[in-house]
């Protein structure tokens, strides 16, 4: 009895050192040597400034950008407070929220049904992607705001559409941050005169 209690203590300490300290350090070492960018969160740097992570979603509010999905992380895309809405399927708050978002989205495309992912909050609140359908839905607005042709913007969306992984895993998707960054390069927004 007493002997086994003593073994429990020693065993816990010995294995905790092996698995809680040595193992994470070995993994960190290998990760930093072989996959440095991935291991450090795939941060995107523009002009010496971190603008985000390639795989963490961000909020875009301007009409000239493709918008991400609604987010329940903190006050929206708070990457230090990931969360879904946790609203049940019959919760009135959910039904009202979707209704309001649908109405807002339909301002761009009157009468057209809105792709479901564009009005539902993701599980993490940090979904970096929208579906190709949701991107397509926003093309007319973005093209108009940027004075570009819808065909050109459409083509850009297609270039940024990631197909299923290995041909069958997951769903086709469009990374919103990468698409918007490319958009700024290809069809830059004219600097708006502030004094108007």
């Amino acid at each position: 009895m007493k002997k086994n209690l003593m073994i429990s203590v020693l065993m816990t300490i010995a294995t905790t050192i092996l698995l809680g300290i040595i193992y994470p350090l070995v993994v960190t070492g290998l990760a930093q040597v072989f996959f440095k960018d991935k291991a450090n969160g795939q941060l995107i740097v523009r002009d010496g400034q971190v603008v985000g992570s390639r795989i963490i979603g961000q909020a875009f509010t301007g009409p000239a950008y493709f918008h991400s999905r609604p987010s329940a992380a903190g006050s929206g895309y708070d990457a230090a407070n990931s969360n879904g809405s946790q609203l049940g399927p019959t919760n009135q708050h959910l039904i009202d929220r979707v209704k309001a978002d649908v109405a807002a989205a339909q301002m761009d495309n009157p009468g057209q049904p809105v792709p479901i992912d564009l009005v539902t909050a993701s599980g993490s609140g940090l979904d970096p992607d929208i579906t190709p359908a949701a991107a397509e839905f926003q093309v007319p607005r973005v093209a108009k705001e940027r004075g570009a042709s819808a065909d050109d913007v459409e083509r850009l969306v297609q270039e940024h559409t990631q197909q299923r992984q290995l041909g069958f895993l997951g769903e086709p998707r469009v990374n919103v941050l990468e698409l918007n960054l490319e958009l700024d390069q290809r069809f830059p927004l004219k600097k708006q005169a502030k004094a108007e």
Binding site: T12, Y23, V27, A39, I55, N81, T131
Partner: protein
């Protein structure tokens, strides 16, 4: 079902099935201490551990001794984890500006019990509560230790079935050490590197601060994610590095990581059926249990995917149709990269295997989709189930089926050559009644007390009842996933869920070990004409039906008031 979901599911089950035999054989060799390919690397570390801890690896233990060691080891792990959590502000890598949730005594004890019982129920958000030190030395280590302890008990249980006229079940410390060195550590090392390759971070840097193109600031929590991510799945623990768990892009960045993480959860519990078959010298018995698991798993998968794909009819003006440019369906709480197919797979895998690492928010599932997940928890985590624990849960369920069949024909029931007499029956009954007793009584206390009801801050009505029932089911099943709308970080929930988690861990493992001890002492009865063959299709059907019946008899009233009522009133 769309082609791609079907393809993903079939391939998943094919890979698992193909690996059951080789992995089952490997596990048998590891735990019978016969040579394996990893011996050259692992033997020196094993010897070192025995020297440090003064373990004599040749000592055999009775069921009682084995259970005592298991409980002691869990207890010490809990205390160490509690100490680390309470002291984290004084330990390295603590960022006071981000770690804003206080680890109060009730929360810290809840977390400590939660991780040392492989439940990993999380009443906190990882990125705003846990320092990197707590995540690694506390939680990551405990994921290994608790997972390995469960596997050890599973192996001892198998020995009980395999041995005759023997008073012992093996040595807990040897099984534990071998589970860690030969199984979990190599698996975790390979898996962690694969995850990093796909984009799971592994660093000890402070949270990144980004300024978006629209000039808003975004603090991006990161850290040593990959090391924890793999073992939380491999050890069937499931507690995420981040609050959003497997839905978080840093925990599960691509559809491939999702697929690999699901394999990591299922492979070992599935292979244990083969280890059982080998050790008792009747491989068919193992395969029968495996195919019953596959059947129940597939049914759950088909139903969940169907209900989620149908979407939420309460929404107007939306496009829910599945097409080449979107998955459609009920996307609230789900990620675009996984769609409905990948979310349903993970929901069914995690709810069946005592692993909480969900990649979507189950609280936002349709009423019936959520019902299936709840039923999976209530079945008793025996479809693959927790590492080690799933196997003995399934064997106990088979013993109930044998007992029922015995009643019908009026013979002393036998299973795997062992007679199930009155003493064994008592253990089986204790085992079977523990779950409904704890789950239903605590749910009743919660819904009839102010402290319990005050947790319903997000959803109310029948869905609120489902949240509470789900919480206690998950904790008893040592699963840890939740309908997370429930505000569970209160003294009431922290203490009651912790109690239920301990009941689910020790309240099942101890009768299981006692049962195994009784079996080990018996001499095998040679099978005769009157023996019910337990490796036949008809027994498979009987087992499935008895499982569903026992679960339904225990929980139908509660389920009727929760998800079923919600569905019939609101039509979703």
């Amino acid at each position: 079902m769309d082609l791609y979901s079907a393809l993903q599911y079939v391939l998943f089950l094919a890979i698992v099935t193909a690996l059951v035999r080789p992995l089952g054989g490997y596990l048998e060799r590891v735990f019978s201490r016969t040579p394996t390919v990893l011996d050259r690397l692992c033997l020196p570390i094993e010897r070192l551990i025995y020297r440090i801890t003064a373990v004599d690896p040749n000592v055999e233990m009775t069921g009682t001794q084995y259970a005592t060691c298991f409980v002691f080891f869990g207890l010490v792990g809990t205390l160490l984890l509690y100490a680390i959590l309470r002291l984290q502000a004084f330990l390295p890598w603590f960022f006071p500006e981000y770690h804003t949730t206080q680890l109060s005594p009730d929360l810290a004890s809840n977390v400590a019990i939660s991780f040392s019982t492989t439940t990993t129920w999380q009443a906190y958000g990882g990125e705003n509560t846990m320092s990197y030190f707590s995540q690694m030395v506390g939680l990551c280590a405990q994921n290994f230790l608790a997972g390995a302890a469960g596997l050890a008990v599973g192996v001892a249980f198998i020995r009980g079935l395999a041995r005759q006229c023997s008073g012992t079940l093996g040595n807990f410390w040897v099984d534990l050490t071998r589970a860690l060195l030969w199984v979990l550590l190599p698996g975790a090392l390979i898996g962690a590197i694969l995850l990093v390759w796909q984009g799971v971070p592994m660093n000890f840097r402070p949270y990144a601060v980004a300024t978006s193109v629209e000039h808003s600031q975004q603090v991006i929590a990161q850290g040593p994610v990959a090391a924890l991510e793999i073992i939380k799945n491999l050890g069937t623990n499931g507690g995420g590095f981040f609050n959003a768990n497997g839905a978080h892009p840093y925990e599960n960045p691509t559809p491939l990581t999702n697929f690999l993480e699901m394999l990591a959860i299922v492979l070992l519990p599935a292979a244990l059926t083969n280890t059982l078959g080998r050790m008792i010298g009747q491989p068919r018995q193992g395969w029968l249990l495996y195919w019953v698991m596959i059947f129940l798993f597939s049914m759950g998968l088909i139903f969940v995917r169907h209900f989620e794909q149908r979407g939420n009819p309460q929404f107007g003006g939306v496009d829910l149709q599945s097409s080449s440019s979107q998955s459609g369906g009920n996307m609230e709480g789900k990620e675009v990269r996984f769609g409905i197919g990948g979310s349903a797979l993970t929901a069914v895998v995690t709810s069946n295997t005592a692993t909480g690492s969900t990649n979507s928010m189950h609280d936002s599932f349709t009423s019936l989709g959520g019902l299936v997940l709840l039923v999976n928890l209530l079945l008793g985590e025996l479809v693959f189930g927790g590492l080690g624990t799933g196997l003995y849960s399934m064997v106990m369920a088979a013993a109930i089926a044998v007992f029922l069949a015995g009643l019908m024909v009026g013979r002393t029931p036998e299973y795997l050559g062992k007679k199930i007499g009155p003493a064994e029956n008592k253990m089986i009954m204790l085992y079977a009644l523990a779950a409904p007793f704890f789950v239903l009584s605590f749910t009743a206390v919660a819904v009839s007390s102010k402290a319990g009801l005050s947790g319903l801050t997000t959803n109310t009505g029948p869905h609120g009842l489902t949240e509470i029932l789900f919480a206690y089911s998950s904790c008893f099943a040592n699963n840890g996933q939740s309908f997370a709308g429930l505000s569970a970080n209160t003294v009431f929930y922290n203490l009651t869920t912790a109690l239920v988690m301990m009941a689910g861990r020790f309240g099942l493992a101890i009768p299981a070990l006692a049962f195994a001890g009784m079996f080990a002492r018996q001499k095998n009865t040679p099978s005769s004409l009157g023996t019910l063959p337990t490796d036949s299709l008809s027994f498979g059907i009987l087992l499935t039906i008895s499982l569903i019946t026992v679960t339904a008899l225990s929980y139908l009233p509660a389920l009727a008031l929760g998800p079923v009522l919600e569905r019939s009133v609101f039509g979703t």
